[in-house]
Symmetry: C2
Subunit: 327 residues, 2 copies
């Protein structure tokens, strides 16, 4: 089993202070591995990178006619800014679901300023609240129990599991508990790359094709809602319309390049979230999906500053060459 | 050059979700390497682990008679709790230095609750404010310029550099800028282990012996001031009186065992701070400096819970065997 390889270096005052090693998998919608680095089959939890698929599952139950911004917030790991909170509240209202039904734990918004303004932690401020609101909306529409919607045996979660199997091509994912309390799925990194290729080639997803296309279109149309101010997903989808991306916790970052029909999944072995964005952007550039100008426009997230006394004295920057697979 | 070895595993729902690799060096006060793992000579920035030495340098200028709790806060990476802020204010007042002279950047306290209560970021809430207040006190006492005290060529920083050379046994440390804006020193990890051995065998530190002993005694007498609620340094020095420890940023953690006269330095290669405490505690246990009961009492920081929906579903835990050096 190949081990993790250095992907991202953290430089302070000219010294390589820290190194993040990790894995990369690039797949097409048939699940073929096109390029890799480290161990492309490292089993990882899908974390929030599955949200577009989870949203597609909820959308099949909710039915048509949901405004596109409310679809986008279902796919989000949002920063808890006012726009995000408003969208989640509208989604809950539209589903006739009380905010008290949200099963994600209380949290404060990600941005320090927003966190101070928000005061006490709330469930609606949790970055996954849109996903939870969507699942609850789907349960309400289907007449399913709202109290137990996070149990792996609940019908909504069984539908998610079936979608994960079909999307990743993995028959028996490990089922665990995500940070937000929802079931999370452990699959090889190559399965996540395959899933993302299929998000932009949804004909591989059977009955879920239509709602997956709806979810992906909503993310591309409302990138701010998917993340927030200064977030990598938001900048990437705003600056580079040809890419769909979704961050996951613990150093996971996945993206799809619709024109090429490929999916890219990057995983930092140590779970370091500061490194996954720079690594994903570098991988996309290596694959020709981003131009040098695109990367330049993404500089605030591609090469994050390291501060000394509040001023930049170094950076977090990716540097690696992908290994193309033969055949 | 040996590469980093797996030290700490992050398990979620039974799956090893992430792995932190790193390095360990164990030295005596003569600088002899007694045990190691990974690359014990990896050059690392000393970060906040040098604070006891920086405090000793300031104390030589301040002179005798400073209350022990004010010495402890000079050695602290404090959590910005009310007790910490009060101590920093008292130290500034005693030195006749205005809070506006502090050169560390404004920050909010570490604990989310304390951060909410504190409101806007302030310099005094920065975890390094005690060190800065001590340096300013020393400058004021010596008639040195307060405005430029963070410049590497300022007399207080030149004294710190001389102390780092003598303490670590490293002639020419890399000089960089620490997160708080103060000069920081890049030395082999074994140099940090040597420094910690010398902190408890201060006869190796020449003219600084007396103030180093004062700083170490203050840390052991006031472990809460050195860290704060739930912090590893505080728990370790409260529960295990025979150990002196000091965390540094970017996955560094150093400790000394006075009875054995040894220093231990652990560095997580990826800079992951969640892993350095568990790794240090495991290394101390491996060396026989902690009993199984000590480790049990330190469980909240030795094996940190991983949460799913707010409930523990896994843990961050260290597992490795140190390699004893020959001869």
């Amino acid at each position: 089993m190949p081990s993790a390889v250095p992907l991202v270096r953290v430089v302070r005052s000219g010294l390589v202070e820290s190194v993040h090693a990790g894995h990369v998998a690039v797949c097409d919608a048939k699940g073929r591995l096109l390029a890799a680095l480290g161990d492309p089959h490292r089993v990882v939890f899908s974390r929030s990178s599955t949200k577009p698929l989870q949203a597609a599952v909820s959308l099949r139950r909710i039915g048509e006619g949901l405004p596109e911004d409310l679809v986008a917030i279902m796919c989000a790991s949002h920063s808890g800014e006012p726009e995000h909170m408003r969208a989640v509240r509208r989604l809950l209202r539209r589903g006739g679901v009380p905010a008290s039904a949200l099963g994600c734990p209380p949290d404060v918004p990600m941005l320090p300023g927003a966190a101070r303004r928000a005061g006490r932690p709330t469930r609606i401020a949790h970055s996954c609240s849109g996903k939870h609101a969507g699942m609850l909306f789907a349960c309400s529409r289907s007449g399913w129990d709202l109290d137990t919607y996070l149990a792996p045996r609940h019908p909504i979660q069984r539908e998610v599991l079936r979608a994960v199997r079909r999307g990743t091509g993995v028959d028996r994912p490990v089922v665990g508990v995500d940070g937000c309390g929802a079931p999370v799925h452990g699959v090889p990194l190559s399965g996540m790359a395959t899933l993302f290729a299929r998000l932009v080639r949804p004909e591989h997803l059977g009955a879920r094709a239509a709602t997956v296309a709806t979810a992906v279109a909503a993310m591309r149309a409302h990138p701010f809602l998917v993340g927030g101010s200064g977030r990598t997903d938001t900048l990437l989808m705003t600056q580079v319309p040809g890419v769909v991306s979704k961050v996951g916790a613990e150093g996971l970052f996945c993206a799809a390049v619709p024109v090429d029909g490929i999916g890219v999944a990057v995983r930092i072995e140590d779970g370091g979230d500061r490194a996954s964005g720079p690594a994903l952007i570098h991988a996309l550039a290596e694959l020709g999906a981003l131009t040098a100008e695109d990367v330049e426009r993404l500089a605030p997230v591609a090469r994050r500053p390291i501060l000394g006394g509040g001023r930049p004295v170094g950076e977090v920057a990716a540097s690696f060459r992908l290994r193309r697979s033969r055949g």
